[in-house]
């Protein structure tokens, strides 16, 4: 997409324009900067048959599964990280096919990271030294060849290789971006940089929209460039209940309660109505969350890390 056209739009518009039923989606964030706001919008827009990839699933996946948005998840772990406690919608889907049968394409953390890396690099596969002999190597059979071994032409050893993944659409929630889509993220990035750059279409949601000059003050923090970005959404608190370094801390209480509040289908349906389908957008969600909690979660400022860029 040309960098001239304005890309600033609402999350509703960004998801509406870019996500099609059946797409393979990448969601950024490993504990931090998880794309809850984007996921909730996919639920409100009743997207269906999405394949969703993400290094660790957690309650974000649990919600997409419970709402019937995805029938195929690609991840290394899916549980409520707080505690940890079960992800009930995942359990219901896997054990009872409620609300539908889903494929859980289980990866190891390294495998999914290297699949995104191969997609990032534009190469068809990358070797890794793990997963041979485990169930991850070949289950589930429905998704075909998940990994393979090849003989190294230099050492003669047989080594495991994992295929590239290039999702149709990727979404990230970052600290800041300029209006053209140059996006910066710092703190714990996990798989986000490689995952998002492997995507064909990209939605950037940012806590702040800043001038390009700010981006250029520490260009090492840029994780995706404007030339690849299709939509820029100004979405403060878009990662709640996960954290964004320098903005807000993880809402542990909310996540802890989520497990209790979604244990039965009825509980889950109430939760869904309260937090997702009963609100129109992130602004309304924040009203439900309440000012007191927002104040509690807001990060204490710790501004540091300047260095000399002089020449």
């Amino acid at each position: 997409m040309s960098k001239i056209t304005t890309k600033i739009m609402s999350m509703k518009e960004a998801i509406g324009k870019n996500v099609k039923n059946g797409d393979l989606i990448f969601l950024g964030g490993f504990g931090n900067g998880m794309t809850f706001s984007a996921a909730h919008e996919m639920i409100r827009q009743k997207k269906r048959d999405l394949k969703v990839s993400k290094c660790g699933g957690g309650i974000l996946f649990d919600q997409l599964i419970g709402a019937g948005v995805t029938n195929h998840i690609i991840t290394s772990h899916c549980w409520n990280g707080t505690g940890p406690q079960p992800a009930w919608n995942l359990k219901r889907a896997m054990e009872e096919e409620i609300p539908q049968k889903i494929i859980y394409n289980e990866q190891s953390l390294f495998m999914i990271n290297m699949s995104f890396f191969a997609g990032y690099m534009g190469i068809p596969f990358v070797p890794i030294r793990s997963i041979v002999g485990t169930g991850i190597f070949d289950h589930p059979k429905e998704v075909g060849l998940k990994a393979a071994t090849v003989e190294c032409p230099f050492t003669g050893e047989e080594i495991c290789v994992v295929p590239a993944m290039n999702p149709d659409v990727g979404v990230i929630q970052v600290q800041r971006a300029d209006s053209e889509g140059n996006a910066q993220m710092w703190g714990l990035i996990g798989d986000t940089k490689y995952g998002i750059n492997a995507c064909k279409k990209i939605i950037v949601a940012a806590e702040e929209i800043v001038d390009k000059k700010i981006i250029m003050e520490s260009p090492e923090r840029t994780i995706v460039g404007a030339h690849k970005v299709d939509a820029v959404v100004h979405e403060p608190w878009g990662a709640h209940p996960s954290s964004v370094q320098g903005f807000y801390y993880t809402d542990l209480e909310y996540r802890f309660n989520y497990a209790k509040e979604t244990k039965t289908i009825e509980d889950w349906e109430n939760w869904l109505e309260k937090w997702i389908t009963g609100v129109n957008d992130r602004q309304e969600y924040l009203k439900v969350l309440g000012e007191e909690k927002i104040k509690f979660l807001k990060a204490n400022s710790l501004i540091q890390g300047a260095v000399d860029y002089g020449f």
Binding site: F110, G133, Y194, T250
Partner: protein
């Protein structure tokens, strides 16, 4: 150190004893891969007790060599509190490269089910496609199990269901089918499970068959108790060592750590925390 170094604690839970045994396996010059969930507690205790400079790596992509300040238990591997308390912050591939280059000397992992070859299942009970119980999956544990020099499994409940005769799925590779099968699968020769630590005991692995055997009994636990609660016909070391009850100092640090964990919403069972409020 205070006098309570030599004073033994008489009242403690099996979970506490497991953590104490686990943290003792870590040395100050180890390079540890620190993982959620009980390993966090054991590593935290080790740092407070005997490893002030412990170099630890987390799968989210960071390393550090001291306790996070403020001295807060990270609620998970991705707690933002870790960032300004680390010597390096990168991405998951950076962390995993340290592991894959063979630089990690020790890791602890808590797991759902282990078999006699140290393989683990955190994925599924029943068939993969149609599970009876679906479990969370391995995350980075697969790589940690595959690539760490000394791997220590923590099982918080010593029972036949958890120390299982047969696994429905291998999430994390131990010695696979024993003998040289792990080596043949391509895992580095100097890696693999070192021990299994439970509330009852420490098991280690035979150097030839790679089968787990009972080596160390926790205080007041009998060989019979261990055998009865293990899902396979457990082999026993020629001389099983029964260790002393833990010094008060260790238990104090253990309980402080458990309290910090509870503050960060770690879910600890009631029977593990019996003595927590008594201190």
């Amino acid at each position: 150190m205070g006098s309570n170094d030599r004073e033994f604690c008489t009242e403690y839970t099996g979970f506490e004893m497991m953590l104490v045994s686990a943290c003792r396996q870590i040395k100050n010059d180890d390079i540890v891969f620190n993982a959620f969930h009980w390993p966090f507690l054991a590593v935290h205790m080790a740092k407070l007790l005997h490893c002030p400079d412990l170099f630890s790596v987390l799968e989210v992509g960071l390393f550090q060599d001291e306790l996070a300040k403020p001295n807060k238990m990270p609620y998970s591997i991705s707690d933002p509190v870790l960032v300004p308390n680390s010597l390096f912050v990168g991405d998951s591939i950076d962390a995993l490269s340290i592991l894959q280059r063979g630089e990690i000397t020790v890791a602890l992992l808590s797991t759902s089910m282990v078999d006699k070859y140290g393989n683990c299942n955190t994925t599924v009970i029943g068939p993969y496609e149609k599970p009876i119980y679906r479990l969370p999956g391995g995350g980075g544990a697969t790589e940690i199990a595959g690539l760490t020099k000394r791997l220590i499994w923590l099982i918080d409940d010593h029972s036949k269901g958890r120390l299982a005769k047969k696994l429905d799925y291998i999430t994390d590779p131990g010695y696979l089918d024993g003998y040289d099968s792990r080596l043949k699968a391509g895992y580095p020769p100097d890696t693999g499970p070192d021990s299994i630590i439970t509330p009852f005991c420490i098991m280690r692995f035979d150097t030839i068959t790679k089968e787990a055997f009972l080596e160390v009994l926790h205080p007041n636990i009998t060989i019979e108790q261990v055998k009865e609660n293990t899902g396979w016909d457990l082999k026993i070391a020629e001389e099983v060592k029964q260790i002393d009850p833990p010094p008060i100092k260790e238990i104090e640090i253990c309980r402080k750590t458990m309290r910090d964990a509870i503050d960060q919403y770690f879910v600890l069972k009631a029977e593990w925390t019996t003595y927590l409020d008594k201190d």
